[in-house]
Assembly symmetry: C2
Homo-oligomer: 589 residues x 2
Amino acid sequence: MYRTHNCGQLRMEHIGQEITLSGWVQTNRDLGQMSFVDLRDRYGITQLAFNVDSDADLHEASTKLRREYVIKITGTVRERSSKNSKIPTGNIEIDVTSLEVLNEAKTPPFTIENETDGGEELRMKYRYLDLRRKPIQENIIFRSSVAIETRKYLAEQDFIEVETPVLIKSTPEGARDFVVPSRMNKGQFYALPQSPQTFKQLLMVSGFDKYFQIVKCFRDEDLRADRQPEFTQIDCEMSFVTQEQILQTFEGLTKHLFKVCMDVELGDFPRMTYDEALQKYGSDKPDTRFGMEFVELNEVAKGHDFPVFDNAELVVGICAKGQADSYSNKDIKKLTEWVQRPQVGAKGLVYIKYNADGSFKSSAGKFYNDEQLAAFATAFGAEKGDLMLILCGETDKVRSQLSDLRLEMGDRMGLRIQGEFNPLWVVDFPLLEWDEDADRFHAMHHPFTSPKKEDIERMLTGDHETMKALRADAYDLVMNGWEIGGGSIRIYDRALQEKNFKLLGFTDEEAEEQFGFLMGAFEYGAPPHGGIAFGFDRLVSIMKGAASIRDFMAFPKNNQGRDIMIDAPANIDQTQLEELTLKILPLEK
Amino acid sequence: MYRTHNCGQLRMEHIGQEITLSGWVQTNRDLGQMSFVDLRDRYGITQLAFNVDSDADLHEASTKLRREYVIKITGTVRERSSKNSKIPTGNIEIDVTSLEVLNEAKTPPFTIENETDGGEELRMKYRYLDLRRKPIQENIIFRSSVAIETRKYLAEQDFIEVETPVLIKSTPEGARDFVVPSRMNKGQFYALPQSPQTFKQLLMVSGFDKYFQIVKCFRDEDLRADRQPEFTQIDCEMSFVTQEQILQTFEGLTKHLFKVCMDVELGDFPRMTYDEALQKYGSDKPDTRFGMEFVELNEVAKGHDFPVFDNAELVVGICAKGQADSYSNKDIKKLTEWVQRPQVGAKGLVYIKYNADGSFKSSAGKFYNDEQLAAFATAFGAEKGDLMLILCGETDKVRSQLSDLRLEMGDRMGLRIQGEFNPLWVVDFPLLEWDEDADRFHAMHHPFTSPKKEDIERMLTGDHETMKALRADAYDLVMNGWEIGGGSIRIYDRALQEKNFKLLGFTDEEAEEQFGFLMGAFEYGAPPHGGIAFGFDRLVSIMKGAASIRDFMAFPKNNQGRDIMIDAPANIDQTQLEELTLKILPLEK
């Protein structure tokens, strides 16, 4: 028996009891006559006391305990003379009568405290030690609780969790598929799923009605800041539903998770069309914790011989409330450089200050008189003390640039408040996205997304320009500037699916080879259906207000897709390669 | 809105209500003046009635509905004139007022009924149709309920579900690893986990204390009868526990699952040592639904000039109660041929019939007189009418052969009763298994299993013969002749782990390269820990008394590891291969 209680359990009511605890040595203070050891496990910390007068050998042994030693002690619970109100066990301590060292520990390469001195690479190499730190351990435990609550909620709503296969088939759009050579089918490969999309649709064809799965997905892509080659989705699909019912169901799930796991009440989620989101925020995933909405200025800006504005497709700006005084010429210059960085890509920045004394100051002052600048202020709804920031250019690009600037100003002005959660449904996405460079359409959501009912006829018969205007029953759940979920009503008709593949540049043969099983299934009684997938790693990281999903994965990979703790990926044996009939080609110089 | 209710929901209390249902046409009976359609969804079947007199066009339309059409109807609930007590909705029917065909259906390639006429390959190709059949759909739903109950139970016991990585590293013992070439780390490979073993141990080193995960595992091996390349485990690990506490915890889980999901009360699980299981049943996973225990017969059998017995290491038999009369000479001959099949491999079979009149008849009758045959009967505890079946040979082999015969006799005698569940803990497994052919040890459980405490010293210092006798804190949970779970107390000391790797034939360098991270972790304060893993697919199939785990997987693969519905594995593009710097070698002739 290693313990009768855990290290977070003992209270005043246990005083006088003989107990056994096991755990890790957190700290060890030797005060000469007495030594005190803080014993730690997942559940808490309990103070152990060793007294020279009671047992000199035991006291001596206790002074040799070093940080992270694993020990087992037996002793009696007693009231502390100096209580610690910061921890639940702070009223008691253990008068230790026996001590056993279960395992020693070398000095950890970084301190195992809430704040650590370890760099990221070092902490990833010793991930099992980093996971001992309370903030990280709490993240992983929190993730576990969100998962179980998700399952309970969906199970209560008659959803069935079905495991779909991990070893599937590579798709032609699957340049980012991980592939898996088969030993039994030499020269052939499985692929790891980027999502269980086609399988969940088949489950609807099978009549499962309501499916979900918390499931690992895989993408072999260059890892930008916060992507991982393997990630987890809450994947869901429903039959005989409208978009409205899907939104209601998963708004319900999201509210439930925030309530149960965070004690946060989310009100009803606002909705916004894709077009409106782009017009107001320049983004299909706006952070709506703050306003600072875009103001389109073509009317007031153009026709005043300012060629930069006159030649632009769109002049658009934001109004930073009360910031006129805070930005010196030098600050404005820095901000201009900030928007000109390649990551943002604006050509320049025009500002108008509405000074406290009612005067205006602007970098475009020589093209506009005070009355004309006042017209800008009116358009912005600006008041004295406000700073107007204006960009111009091609509509899509300038909106994206101004979105970056808006978020930056939101950060600087402290408007993106930690612990505040602003969910938003973005709806009515375009079905297709025209790729000018590749001279082809991409699916905005994915190739299985249905156009809106009223657009189906136009899709089957319309011309190229018509296709650009098609709207889909597709929706994203956005929170605080992040997409946390996205889904759509699906196509369930073979002819429409064939048409969509054709629009996306598939030949009939390619469509049949890759998705023949799905189109076949549509011929045997496929019900109307739709679904959604949540990025589970992202969801939990946003709930906790954390920047990185890595902090919520037990064993994440680094930016090169490497697990540096186990050192994977790695070379494999030549015999293994031969069994797979594979040869590694030399790298080109 | 596709429906106000589902097809299993409506009762007498709904009579008079206007409702909308959607679902699949199960059957369609046209009686001239009336037609009746059974409408099906996951929840049940509701009868729809169409009357020529009410609406001739609608009736006409209804007669054109074919099986598996997807339709939506609106109508009024009314009492049936002829009720069907077999289904919960059997008291009512729908007087249909409007009908919409949502999707047509071709004639399915096999009938979608509880009993189908489809062959296995056909049903796998159209798995989405097979999944519409009630028995299969119920299996998948049952699996889902067992999973959620497992999670609820373990979460209530403070277990944390932690997702471990799927992209890990290939191990030297990993000839059966699936590998995954990395595009970002060219020439290197990830491997898919055969189990999350090392990660769950690291989580114990991290202090997670109680871990579980329902997790996909992978093995690229020749697929025997009922194996799948991807399968699911309930994977668990605990810190600061004894073997006893692990057995108690997971006996509790198993009882809970049977109670909640099956309404079956399992009593306390008996325990048996590995040695006893082999001696009594010739197997470490005995079916204990019936007795027919082995009786060792060297004492009565030897020394009577019957060279077959005299030269055998072990003479051992079973007593088939009341079977003397049932086995003619011809039957005995057939049974002898059965044990001589290569799958069993016995050289021959000796029988002794204890006839109803008290006489004996035996194929070894010329070596034993009646008194000597009576001594066999005494050893067996045989009564008049019993049939004694005796094999002999090398101990290990003859036990395995007799185990096969015992199970066969159990089947023939109807002793392996469906719906009866006999759990058994098999404990005290050997640590190592000597492989005569390869001249090396294998780990009986896996290389991380701890020897029993009392055997540690012998393991660190003993000679070769000592190693063969080492016992491990390893245990299997067996039910009805299947292993449904297995686990062990783990090594948590670097020196002991190094010794174990050495015994298993690893060089120091190999051990370090493959498992250096784990042995390193043992140096930073590793707690005593142990765990277990349940074969989840097997567990649910046994609970339902089914023969094959495939019936409990939504999308299983066939014996060649192929998903014949999506046609995977498949060839991949040359460009994909080039990105991975791989070349496929021509197959050897």
